[in-house]
Amino acid sequence: MAHEHTADHDHVHGEHDHGPAHGWRRWVYATNHKDIGTMYLIFACTMFFVGGLMAMIIRAELFKPGLQLVDPQFFNSMTSMHALVMIFGAVMPAWTGLANWMIPMQVGAPDMALPRLNNFSFWILPFAFTLLLSSLFVPGGGPAGGWTMYPPLSLQAGDSLPLTIFAIHLMGASSILGSINVVVTIMNMRAPGVGLLNMSLFCWTWLITAYLLIATMPVLAGAVTMLLTDHFFGTSFFSAAGGGDPVMFQHIFWFFGHPEVYILILPAFGIVSEVIPTFSRKPLFGYDAMVYATAAIAFLSFIVWAHHMFTVGMPLAGQLFFTLSTMMISIPTGVKVFNWTATMWKGSLSFETPMLFALSFLFLFTIGGFSGLMLAVVPADFQYHDTYFVVAHFHYVLVPGAVFAIMAGVYYWLPKWTGHMYDEKLGKLHFWLSTIFVNVLFFPQHFLGLAGMPRRIPDYSTQFADWNMVSSIGAFGFGLSQLLFPYIIWKCVKAGQRAEARSWEGAHGLEWELTSPPPYHSWSDPPSREVIAKGAQH
C-alpha cells in the first residue's frame, strides 16, 4: 500500500522534478541534500582509509620491540594525524553525510533548509584536509604533539603548527555551518504533523549533536588561536615563564573535547535506535526515555571535562566533583542500553547486516562503557591514565561504537539510496571479519595498559611484546577487511536486486514511504497525515 501511494505521489509531481545538473557542475554547485550527502560520505570513506593507513603504520612499527620502520618523531606525527583525520575527517563528515541524506526524508521536507550553506560547509572540508595532510611534508614534519596539542610541546612544532591550526579552524567552521543547517531544518522544515516527540531518534540525536557542535567548536577554535598567538605573536597564554598557564589549555581543550566525544557517538545512538526496532519488528522501547537520556548525556558532557586530566594535580574537591559527574553519565547511558535490550525482548529478530552491526555495537560499545566507568574511579585512573587501557577504551567506543553504527546506517539505508539491495553475503562477511578482528586488535590493549605500557610510544620493553603482536595482527586483519566496504557499496550502486520502497519488513519512518531510490527533491509535497501516522510508529 505504501508502494502505491508513493508511486502515485511521484507520478503527480514528477514534472516538478528537474534532475541534477550534468558533469562536474552537479557536484561543485551542488545544493541537493542527497548529492551533498553523497559527497560527505565519499569524503569520509576516503579519510577513513587515509587515517587507517596511518594506523597500519603505527601497528606495523609496534609489531615487535625495537624500531624497524619509522623515526620516533614521524611515529608521533602518525598518532596525532591518525586521530585528527579519523575524528574530523572520517566520523564527523560521515555523520553529516548521513544527516544530509536522511533528515529531510525523515521530517518530510524537500531538502535541507539552507542548501547553499550546505554546499559551502562541504566544500570547506577538502581544503581543510589538504592543509592538514600537507603539513606532513613541511620542514619539521607533521604535528607530533598528539591530537590534543598540549602546549608547551605542541609549540615546539615546525611549520606544521599554523597549517594544523588553520585546518582546525576550517573544520570547525564546516561543522558549525553543517550544524546550523541541521537545527534549522529540523526546527522549521518538519512537515505538518511531524511533531518533535514523534520524529525519528536519528533526527533527535542529530539535533542535540548539532547544539553540542555549535557550543563547543568555537571553544576549540579559541584554544588553538591562543596557541597560534603564543607561537607567533609573543603572547603567553600557556607559557608559565610569561605568567601563563599550560594547564589552562587542557581545561579549555577538554571543555570542547568531552562534548566532542558525544558528538561522535550520539548520532550512533540514533542509528542503533532505528535499526534494532526494524529488525526486531517491534517499536522502540521507551522512546521518550531515549530522548531525555540523550539530552541528559549532552548536558552532563559539559561538566565532566576534567576527567581527561586527573593527573594534572587538581584540588580534592575538583577530583571528587569530576569523578561523580562522570559516573553519572552511566545512568542515562545505561537507560539507553537497557531500552535497546528491551526492544529486542519479545521481538521477532532477524539478522541482516545492519542488525548485525547494531548488535555488535550494543555489545562492544557496552564494553567501552564499562572501561569508561573504571576510568572514572580517580585513584584507579592514576594507574590507567595515559596507558593502553585508555587507548583500548576509546577505540572500543569509537570503532565498534561510532564506526560500526555508521556501517549499520549505510547498510540499512543503501537500498533506499540506490534502489538496489546490497550483496547480503558479502555484507555478512564484512561484518564477521570486522567484529572478530576489532576485538583481536583492541581487547589485548586492555592487558597492555594494565601491565604498564604507556600510550604514544614507538617502542616498548620486551615484556609487552606478545600482546602487541596480537594487536597488530588484529589491526592488519581489520584494515584489510574494510576494503570490502567500498566494494560492496560500489557493487550495490551499480546493480543488484530491486529494493522496495519499504526495503525492510519491519522498517518504520517517513523515509520508507518514499520510493527507492527517492525522488530528487525528496518530499516536494509534504506527506499527508495518514502517511505520517504510518511512518511514525517507532
Binding site: 607530533a144 517499536p283 521518550d288 569523578t323 529478530l349 584507579a380 600482546w467
Partner: protein, 299 residues
C-alpha cells in the same frame, strides 16, 4: 609422549593455515598470562588503588554478565526463524524503567564512598620523612634530595639506547631490561613516607612507577606532589616510564627506583654526599650535610 605427538600434529595443521592466523595463535600461546591485570604494587596506596580497581572491575563483570545475558537470551529466544511473534504492545514500563535507573545510582553511591576515602588519603602529605624533587627534561629525569645536597640526572642506559636506534640490528631481547634501565637509579628507603615534588623544565612529562600505584604530571611552572611509602619488606628495584607525550624520545626516558632498607639507604646517601663534597667547591656544603643527614634516620 603422546602429548608431544599431538603438538606436532597441531603444528602441522597450523602451518597449512594462513600465516597471520599462525602468528596470532602462536603469540597468544606464548603470551604472558600473568601480565593481564594491574600489579598490586608495593606501597600503602598502591594496594588501596588496586583493591578499588578490582572492586569496580567486579562490578563491571557482574553488570556485564546480567546485561549480556539478557541480550544473548533475546537473540537466541526471539528469532524470527524460530517463529517468534513480536509483542508490539511492549513499548514502555515505568516500573522497569525506574528500576534500571535506580540500580546504577545505587552503584554510584556505593562506589563514591571508598573513592572519596582513598582520595583523601592520597592527598594527605603530612608526616613526610624525605622530600625528593623530580624534574622532567626532554628526555631525562633529574632527582634532587631536598636538603641533602644530593642531586643527579637519570637517563636511558647506553645498551638500550644503542639497541633502540632505527635499524640498529641489535635484538631488543638481548638487552637486559630493554628501555627500562637507566644510568643512575633513584634510591629510596623502604617503610618511610617519601614525598615527590614534580615539575618540568621544558614540556609536560609524567612520573610513573606502576608498582607505586600513582602517576602525576610534571608541568613547567607547577610543583605537583605525590607521596609513596614502600612496605618495609619490599626492598628491590622497580621500573616505570614517562607517561605524558613529551616529544620525539618520550618512549625513552624510563624511571628506575632502588628501594633499600633505611640503614642501607643512609649508607648510600652518605656516600653520595661524600662524592658531592669532593666535587663541590662550595665551603658551606659540609654544614648542610651534617645538620640534615640524621633527619632521615628518624623513624
Amino acid at each position: 609422549m603422546s602429548f608431544h605427538m599431538k603438538n606436532r600434529h597441531a603444528r602441522r595443521g597450523l602451518q597449512a593455515a594462513a600465516f597471520p592466523l599462525f602468528a596470532l595463535l602462536a603469540s597468544v600461546a606464548h603470551a604472558d598470562w600473568g601480565g593481564l591485570n594491574m600489579p598490586e604494587g608495593v606501597t600503602v596506596l598502591s594496594k588501596k588503588i588496586y583493591s578499588l580497581h578490582m572492586l569496580i572491575l567486579w562490578v563491571c563483570v557482574i553488570l556485564a554478565v546480567v546485561v549480556f545475558g539478557v541480550m544473548i537470551y533475546s537473540i537466541i529466544k526471539f528469532r524470527k526463524s524460530q517463529g517468534a511473534q513480536p509483542d508490539k504492545t511492549l513499548v514502555h514500563s515505568t516500573k522497569v524503567e525506574i528500576v534500571w535507573t535506580v540500580i546504577p545510582i545505587a552503584i554510584l553511591v556505593f562506589m563514591a564512598v571508598p573513592i572519596a576515602r582513598t582520595l583523601i588519603e592520597i592527598e594527605d602529605m603530612g608526616d613526610v620523612n624525605l622530600n625528593i624533587k623530580v624534574t622532567g627534561y626532554q628526555w631525562k629525569w633529574e632527582y634532587e634530595y631536598l636538603g641533602q645536597n644530593v642531586s643527579f640526572f637519570s637517563t636511558l642506559k647506553r645498551d638500550s639506547n644503542a639497541a633502540r636506534q632505527l635499524g640498529s640490528g641489535i635484538d631488543p631481547k638481548s638487552v637486559e631490561h630493554y628501555l627500562l634501565d637507566v644510568d643512575n637509579h633513584l634510591v629510596v628507603p623502604a617503610g618511610q613516607k617519601i614525598r615527590f615534588l614534580l615539575t618540568a623544565q621544558d614540556v609536560i612529562h609524567a612520573w610513573w612507577v606502576p608498582a607505586f600505584g600513582m602517576k602525576k604530571d610534571a608541568i613547567p611552572g607547577y610543583v605537583n606532589e605525590i607521596w609513596v611509602q614502600v612496605d618495609a619488606d619490599k626492598v628491590g628495584t622497580y621500573r616505570g616510564q614517562c607517561a605524558e607525550l613529551c616529544g620525539r624520545d618520550h618512549g625513552f626516558m624510563p624511571i628506575v627506583v632502588d628501594v633499600l632498607s633505611p640503614a642501607d639507604f643512609d649508607k648510600w646517601l652518605r656516600e653520595k654526599q661524600a662524592e658531592k663534597k669532593l666535587a663541590d667547591v662550595a665551603p658551606d656544603a659540609p654544614a648542610v650535610t651534617a645538620s640534615t643527614a640524621p633527619a632521615t634516620l628518624a623513624q
